[in-house]
Symmetry: C2
Subunit: 229 residues, 2 copies
Amino acid sequence: MAAKRSDARGKRPQRISEWLQPVHEPRSEPPLSRDRIVVTAVELLDAQGVDGLTMRRLADRLGSGVMSLYWHVDNKEDVFDLALDSVLEYRGPQQIAQDWRGEVVHMLEDWRASMLRHPWSASLLPRRALGPNILSRLELLSKTLSRAGVADADVNVAIWSLWNYVMGATITRASFDLSDDDRAAAQQRLTRLSERYPTIERSRLLLDNDWDGAFRKGLGFLLDGLSPR
Amino acid sequence: MAAKRSDARGKRPQRISEWLQPVHEPRSEPPLSRDRIVVTAVELLDAQGVDGLTMRRLADRLGSGVMSLYWHVDNKEDVFDLALDSVLEYRGPQQIAQDWRGEVVHMLEDWRASMLRHPWSASLLPRRALGPNILSRLELLSKTLSRAGVADADVNVAIWSLWNYVMGATITRASFDLSDDDRAAAQQRLTRLSERYPTIERSRLLLDNDWDGAFRKGLGFLLDGLSPR
DNA sequence: ACCTGAACACCGTTCAAGT
DNA sequence: ACCTGAACACCGTTCAAGT
């Protein structure tokens, strides 16, 4: 089953404005570029997952030959690096002047949400370098914690703790969400083995669906531990 | 460069006991089994990394045809699942009767250490199911936290928070550790961009090498936040 | 400067068959 | 019950060549 592409030029009635736009070969694809490759890679990853991204499929979507990609991009790893970072841009909070805790929570929840919108990003993260968008978030975190009064000796540990928490939570959430088949299988295995894991069976550790709530609450605990004084 | 296999029967002088053992074809490999496959898969992963594990290479090491593996194992995903869980067995603390905090810290540090001994396990985790050894650790965590007096409503959140922290820390540590080339490249990129990330450049966030210390300290902060009362 | 097709050295897995 | 080889439908990337 091939993924459907919505064609913006599809059946839309002609409007006058279109007469005024420059007429460049209406049917031909725009020229290849690093940006187009990254955007299309993200589309493909969204549609087909990590294993679905193939240099050949990517070239197909772009209407080019496979080897043309290699002029703009080093190799497949490079595509992964670029796709991952492209998905992690942070535009900041809507209203300014919150307290430091609110600022941190907002940025980290946005981080998690951005990755969950592209579940492949979570499973990709472990083997990738830190791109500019990731570094910007770490920079912001660092500034905010310093201003909040966290001791200099503790700031880096605090940043990594928050990073660890967000990455662990997001990766876990994304992989638990893979398919209904997987969920059913996991559930079945657990009940089958319930006598070996009585405590987590009783507390329904693996069946709790309030991921967002758990994330926020756990983050609260961690910030309690990190708060100055 | 092929990985060397140590042959247990190598140059060892013959001992009398060997005369007493049943004589079955001395040179032939033992029969294929799920266990042998998993053990060999872990060896191969240790030696070549995630991308190095190939059904064909695995069969080579086992001295069998590729398709023979498929009698014992569903597919490659299955091999990954089994290899991952096999590496996460927990044997408990050496001396008993610590306080709950010591018990939790010991188990989580052992968890991290086990994964870092097999760096591929960290990058594999995001897409894998929870095997029995992982579930046992969660069970232990649950029991310990309950006994420590963490409120029932908070136990699951506490478990996932600790899980998130350990997974995030371990995955990050394992991927930063990949190669000297990568490190050099990252360092270079950061200094090149130092004017864009002044705070984390000044605090040397990415250059701090005390991973073990940071892990322990951050875990302490998190446990502070999670402690009852 | 940018794009291409053919070719190479691989993959995982199906299938029909062997013992 | 356990193992096998041939074949299929793919991969990523090198290379030498085109414009």
